[in-house]
Symmetry: C4
Subunit: 350 residues, 4 copies
Amino acid sequence: MEPLNVWDYERLAAERLSVGAHGYYAGGADDEVTLRDNVEAFRRWRLRPRMLVDVATCTTATTVLGHDVSMPLLVAPVAFQRVAHPDGEVAMALAAKAAGTIMCLSTLSTSTPAEIAATEAPRWFQLYVFRDEGMTRDLIAQARSGGFGALVLTIDAPTRGNRERDVRTAFAIPEDLRIAAFGRGGMTPQQVFDEVSPSLTWHDLERLCSESGLPLLVKGVLTAEDAKLACEHGAHGVVVSNHGGRQLDGVSATIDVLEEVVEAVDGRIEVLVDGGVRRGTDVVKALALGARAVLAGRAPLWGLAVDGEAGARRVLELLRREILSALQLVGCSSPADVTRDRVTRAPAAR
Amino acid sequence: MEPLNVWDYERLAAERLSVGAHGYYAGGADDEVTLRDNVEAFRRWRLRPRMLVDVATCTTATTVLGHDVSMPLLVAPVAFQRVAHPDGEVAMALAAKAAGTIMCLSTLSTSTPAEIAATEAPRWFQLYVFRDEGMTRDLIAQARSGGFGALVLTIDAPTRGNRERDVRTAFAIPEDLRIAAFGRGGMTPQQVFDEVSPSLTWHDLERLCSESGLPLLVKGVLTAEDAKLACEHGAHGVVVSNHGGRQLDGVSATIDVLEEVVEAVDGRIEVLVDGGVRRGTDVVKALALGARAVLAGRAPLWGLAVDGEAGARRVLELLRREILSALQLVGCSSPADVTRDRVTRAPAAR
Amino acid sequence: MEPLNVWDYERLAAERLSVGAHGYYAGGADDEVTLRDNVEAFRRWRLRPRMLVDVATCTTATTVLGHDVSMPLLVAPVAFQRVAHPDGEVAMALAAKAAGTIMCLSTLSTSTPAEIAATEAPRWFQLYVFRDEGMTRDLIAQARSGGFGALVLTIDAPTRGNRERDVRTAFAIPEDLRIAAFGRGGMTPQQVFDEVSPSLTWHDLERLCSESGLPLLVKGVLTAEDAKLACEHGAHGVVVSNHGGRQLDGVSATIDVLEEVVEAVDGRIEVLVDGGVRRGTDVVKALALGARAVLAGRAPLWGLAVDGEAGARRVLELLRREILSALQLVGCSSPADVTRDRVTRAPAAR
Amino acid sequence: MEPLNVWDYERLAAERLSVGAHGYYAGGADDEVTLRDNVEAFRRWRLRPRMLVDVATCTTATTVLGHDVSMPLLVAPVAFQRVAHPDGEVAMALAAKAAGTIMCLSTLSTSTPAEIAATEAPRWFQLYVFRDEGMTRDLIAQARSGGFGALVLTIDAPTRGNRERDVRTAFAIPEDLRIAAFGRGGMTPQQVFDEVSPSLTWHDLERLCSESGLPLLVKGVLTAEDAKLACEHGAHGVVVSNHGGRQLDGVSATIDVLEEVVEAVDGRIEVLVDGGVRRGTDVVKALALGARAVLAGRAPLWGLAVDGEAGARRVLELLRREILSALQLVGCSSPADVTRDRVTRAPAAR
């Protein structure tokens, strides 16, 4: 039977992928408390639907940093996508294009920015700042010349999270997969990470924002304090993210700190969120708490793993349909209609 | 052994029904979080019984919208009841009549309003407003001529909830079952729902209230805001309902929002509630939180599935006896005695 | 291996007793939510031990209604004890005597008050008020002539709780067991309960208090309101009790409402509590929340079932030793030292 | 495969040790509620990481009572370590020395203070005060002459906790293991404990502090009240501890009362904490709540049991690396940077 939802794709992908590859994508840091909490936390929020609103012309379309998207869900940057499927990031970009949304390309992509540009998919570029400044400058230049619409700077990785699944499976990126940022392969994810700068500061961010020539979002904000600093240092947006539970275990689920960040930003820049999105109702909850849109990483990746571009496209389409249905049932005609009163904390367990 | 409670009937019905039919009745939307929460939420409330009250003459009888009922529990509208048992809605109406309570007939009934009228059961008519206005007018005319005492307008279904159990079992209403509202059969529930209007507004409700010539309750209110609008637009009652967890997954359990609605209504009209009722103590908790009565759908349906009219009657009688016992043990001589202080939140789990 | 704690006795008793007899003692009303919650609720409270207190001369002895007891734990009234062991209530009384505490004899005892009096155990008499006033008067006369030190009036049973285990096992009190209150046997517990008056009021209680010639405690108080009424109508003590979860399912665990009752009583009379006591630390928590003592029913009954008088005595001795140890470790030299600050709510689960 | 974390060592140790020895170390008092809660409570706190802090030169080094340590984690006193491994406390001391941290030697050590002194490991001495004052004086003299840097006085053991695992396995310290404090072997832990004084008071503590000639920490403080008394009576530090859940079951997890103690101490002396530490993030949470450092008992003991000195060293090194990583990811360059805002309560479960 055809998979009906993201959970189905998750199960199928677990069957298709090698234990090592599956663990690499599915796993998190340490005891995976935050990994699980990202998903479970959505269940601690309850929707408050309004009735007798005319939703006959409901649309999921919105804009993010001024870019039109078919829905408030973007494809999050995921590293090494050819490990999941031979067509890798190119297939994902084509799926995003077909779905009318933005593909965020990882610095640790197995396709070059130019290859993604050739798909003509709406595209953003996720950036790691490396110890070697030239390498960073080169990446930004590639993003600019490849027509990427924004940079998404990952700021939560001064060191790599402790992902024990990868150690247990002795997972390494296959030798034949080229890493665009390095022009070479055969490295473990850990070796790649060792090149990421642990010294980046808000001052450096400010310089990046002014020099890169591209709108810049910072990904990895989990506190009101950092949200304010992002605004003050020139970021064009923040992504509330805990790196999918892969960096510091024991931090909050992203949906649980979204409101704190939204209040601190106070409308100055756009707030996005990633982590744990599995259903259209998750997206509507994030909108109600103030997100402009969500980024989904594992969900379309499972689609890619199961059936290449078609699988990723199907997952995105499933999510778009779920978002549409959730908007109608919550009594909203568009993402902009989803106000704060549409969501409330669930009562504590008894 | 004879079934002792609603859970027993639930288990037996699961054995008797086909997987598809059982899934259709038992299932909910998406991940069924709200479906489960409707039941579990009652356990987050604790009764506060008062002692040394003379309860020798305790009665469960009350009135709902001025109609006498033997107990504060009505039969909720459930679609396509001949799928559960060949005698369908007629058997359910006879069971309600025997139990001294009101049968709410679904628009999506497999018996006509006239057939239900012939049972002489106390009866209300659940209404969907369709895209085709003539169809809606015709339904109201049938309800009026059939002596139905009130209309129960379902307002939480501008689109159909995502019920994956039905997709997995490829469930369809059997060809030979006529749908009263359409005069034809062989449709999937989804096809029927596609005819429901997604454009209904509070303005339309106001017109319905004044034109229908019948008292009208709106079913599907989950917020104080909508409860106030219902009062202001002429509804004679509201039913706090999430459609048995079958429409928007992730909304609150009905018992958890009942008080918010009751406070917003502030005594202007009557408030009923459905969802998750399995025990007499559930009913007493709802009364304490301000409900005039509850509607039970699945509970009597399991009785119908197990043993036709006799099964439904037995479930209603079991519930009536449990309500009586709960009233006595909580120190009340009638439903009207169940004041707000008889219930309190359970302490949070530790 | 010799049983080490109450849980061990509970398991052994489940092995020794018939399914029907075990279910009768172990079971509760409806879904047994309150039955389980009585035990679990103790885990929602945390002890706050104080250090460097000289506890070399620690004692568990205290007084209840002026009677000396070796520990703040009495034997709760449990019906039909010969169903658990041929030696029944007489063995239990001898165990209580050996342990230096009070035996509360149930009205529904399978031994007469006179037989218990012959044991010379410290003794109280649990009273049901029956529809037949003469029968009630006769019971009080038996209690008085038998030298019972107090009456414990059960007020939470105007009708019998719905105990489905007994129906499923078709449990009945064996024909050959005489019920002291009726002078005859062969009745089901339900038949006995049908004779209990559902009409008793606080006015009747006041009359009982003045006419009985014995101190009177009311057992079954779960609210501040009823606690105040008990004080105002002449009761000498209240027992916070939900009848071991056997009457109205869905009421609070007793330990969770103890403080509300203690505050309402405000020192005017003594407050006892029963329900869910399995460890010495449970007793210390109850003392900290203001109880004068606890009553334990099932715990010594499991001892009786396993090994007659010796088993009940061993359970009481285990509990006494656990109370002593808990007092020392919480930094108290006697029950009177256990102040409110020795206990606090556990943090909510996350 | 090489063990990756403390959980791995815990599992391996359970395989290596006899049931009795394992139960002795792993077990707790009564129902082990506090034992489990010590671990689980860390999950009720969430880290709040700050981004774009330069953490290139991050260090785990700190000081405790003025002593330099390589990390804010000390080896807690654990009794009878030769039961876990033939090399016992000497191996543990060498592991602590290699890891650059302090070994706390138990009074109930199977090596003499002099043997530990010979390792030249940084060392503190855990002290029980015995009924026999001469014995206590002798222990202090041994600690002083052995160059131990501080005394850690255990104050939560006026009587021994009820550890049923030891009774069920009939666990006794092997005859051939000499207990330093007694100069003899073949005693059960219970027999040793019977010699501990139940009469110690804050007055006695004050005398010990002035007479011992060594800095003195009191271990076992769980309340603000006792924390203040410790400050007022001359203690140089407090250890928030519930004896690893081995004394009074039902007390709070230590991490849950740490802040209460820190606030009461108000900077006058240093606060340490033990109980439930399994991950570097646990340590960072404790630092954020005001601890100067944590003590880990079972974690290095599992290492000792698995592989002697090398195993204990490896566990300490794993924890040091995890602490380093957690510091970097939470945006701190040293333990001193971990301020209160880096941790917050997790939302209650729903």
